[in-house]
């Protein structure tokens, strides 16, 4: 694909003053659609998804959008059921305060669904087939349920919510580099990402208010909510990472927090081990598409 030429043509489209001034968002998105249609053959060469049904490690912008939509659809359904908005599912018995917070989160997830559906269809692609969800993790009875009382017990529901939100935050981080070539899509993704991080923080606060040992950020001191070796456990694998890297030329060089940097804010001073525990908290880690998809599949059938 002649990428530079494509961009040049998009730039030309961008300056065409033919669009009405009203409804800027619609106009802007319509413009994306316009660009998508005009340049579709060229664009799709670069964006088409592999036909294989196995989970891919995302490679294209479109793959990233589809993964984001899958996440958002699942989250929206999860919270909608908890609020009694889905036929056949009675609301989880929350307190009034908890219900309000879940409503706030659900509304955001619904907005994210609408956004990513529009971005996908505007790019000329079609939406994935609708899937069915089972948040007990039993795949509609095909395997033992991991969370049998997710729909009736607020503590279980919030555990799964934490799992999904923390996973979502990590999954978006794993996708940003595939969206880097498009400022608009990148910014949509990063702004969705930090919204999800706020959700994750609040769900954790809700659990703490109900007596769980958990911080608002991912910490080694959180009481474990997953079993080692299980699919949900992958959500927290690698979060204890205490190394970050910087690039020099093309090589990655580790930043040695414990020895060379002046981080030490404790009184008395923190031990190197304690400093490293803080380092793990201070950075959320990315999750690749394969792992994110594995978690999604646990709750779909």
């Amino acid at each position: 694909m002649d990428f530079l030429n494509l961009l040049a043509r998009l730039a030309d489209l961008d300056t065409t003053p033919a669009l009405p001034a009203a409804a800027p968002r619609r106009a802007a998105l319509g413009r994306l659609g316009q660009a998508g249609t005009a340049l579709l053959p060229a664009l799709l060469t670069g964006l088409s998804r592999p036909a294989a049904a196995t989970p891919q490690n995302t490679k294209t912008r479109l793959d990233a959008l589809h993964l984001a939509l899958q996440l958002e659809l699942l989250e929206n359904e999860f919270y909608s059921r908890a609020l009694g908005l889905v036929a056949g599912f009675s609301a989880v018995p929350f307190s009034a305060t908890e219900k309000t917070a879940i409503q706030t989160i659900q509304q955001h997830e619904a907005q994210h669904v609408a956004l990513f559906q529009r971005l996908i269809t505007d790019s000329g692609s079609s939406l994935d087939p609708v899937v069915r969800y089972d948040f007990t993790g039993s795949k509609n009875g095909a395997q033992p349920a991991l969370y049998p009382d997710v729909q009736t017990n607020p503590d279980t529901f919030l555990q799964v919510a934490q799992l999904l939100e923390d996973a979502g935050v990590r999954a978006y981080k794993g996708q940003v580099e595939f969206l880097q070539s498009d400022d608009y899509l990148l910014e949509a993704a990063v702004r969705t990402h930090s919204t999800e991080a706020r959700h994750a923080s609040h769900i954790r606060t809700m659990r703490r208010q109900r007596g769980a040992t958990v911080k608002s950020w991912i910490s080694a001191s959180d009481a474990a909510i997953t079993t080692p070796g299980s699919v949900p456990a992958k959500v927290y694998e690698g979060e204890d990472n205490i190394t970050q890297y910087v690039t020099i030329g093309t090589s990655l060089v580790q930043v040695p927090f414990d020895s060379t940097l002046p981080i030490n804010v404790g009184t008395p001073p923190l031990t190197p081990t304690q400093v490293l525990a803080k380092v793990a908290e201070a950075f959320d880690e990315p999750l690749n598409a394969q792992t994110a998809t594995a978690l999604l599949q646990l709750f779909t059938y």
Binding site: F3, L4, L7, A8, L10, A11, D12, D14, T15, P24, R25, A27, A28, L29, T97, A101, H108, E109, A110, Q111, A114, V169, V176, Q180, L186, E187, A188, V190, R191, T192, H193, S194, T195, A197, R198, H199, A200, S201, H202, T205, K215, S216, W217, Q244, Y245, V246, T247, L252, V253, V255, F257, T260, L261, P262, K278, E281, A282, F283, D284, P286
Partner: protein
């Protein structure tokens, strides 16, 4: 291109800055390679890079290192703020709040030191000077009062999130983009935590999340303008990412 500015917020702002100024700019940067005439047409409008920094002003620099310096400046501000919160805790902090802010202080200090290390290793000689205590101005914060501390913390955390959200597009090195993502979500967790302390349930209210469910994004110059009252030395972000 005098219209290159944005202060993201509502829905219209989201569509507008993304589609017109930024998009156009980045596309023309690419387009320059193949569509020379177009680039030439616009080159006269783009005077950002030639701007002279007045004496006494610290330029954050351009390109990726400009973005890193920008983040470094903000993390220094946050780290200094929370260090002060920790050293002179509000007399009316509730149970566990000091312990939590001590942890947040550690996170911010780590972010600050990370950027210092990253810039020194990746772009030797291009790091901005460290902001000393005498360079900062927290006189508007009453550190003895919980309400004042929480309000300031909310300001800093929301600003930090919006700053990272708006700066991602200026990073050209994928590794930096990922690192920025690794940090911004922790900042967003802090922001939600502090907001919930002020008013439980305000973790992601309409003042910060727009009707598309998107968190705020702000341009470097707007973020620095918002942060400038807390920093005595003048920072210039006009060439960040450019």
């Amino acid at each position: 291109m005098s219209n290159i500015k944005q202060n993201a917020g509502d829905e219209a702002e989201f569509a507008k800055p993304l589609y017109t100024p930024i998009k156009r700019r980045s596309f023309f940067m690419y387009a320059g390679a193949t569509a020379g005439a177009t680039a030439l047409l616009l080159s006269g409008c783009d005077d950002d890079k030639d701007e002279v920094v007045p004496a006494g002003t610290i330029s954050l620099g351009s390109g990726d290192v400009g973005v890193l310096n920008y983040a470094y400046a903000l993390e220094q501000l946050e780290a200094a703020f929370y260090a002060q919160v920790k050293d002179t805790p509000a007399t009316d902090f509730k149970t566990n709040e000091l312990a939590y802010f001590t942890q947040v202080a550690a996170h911010e200090a780590i972010h600050r030191d990370f950027f210092k290390a990253a810039i020194n290793r990746d772009a030797p000689g291009k790091i901005i000077p460290s902001l000393q205590a005498s360079d900062l101005n927290f006189s508007s914060v009453d550190f003895t009062k919980r309400d004042s501390v929480l309000a300031a913390a909310k300001t800093f955390e929301d600003l930090g999130v919006a700053a990272y959200n708006g700066a991602g597009k200026y990073l050209k090195t994928p590794a930096y983009l990922v690192i920025a993502g690794q940090i911004v979500s922790v900042e967003a967790r802090h922001a939600a935590y502090v907001r919930d302390l002020i008013s439980n349930g305000s973790f992601a209210d309409d003042s910060i999340i727009d009707s598309m469910g998107l968190d705020k994004a702000m341009e470097p110059v707007d973020v620095i303008a918002a942060a400038q009252p807390f920093i005595k030395v003048k920072l210039d972000a006009t060439s960040v990412g450019k």
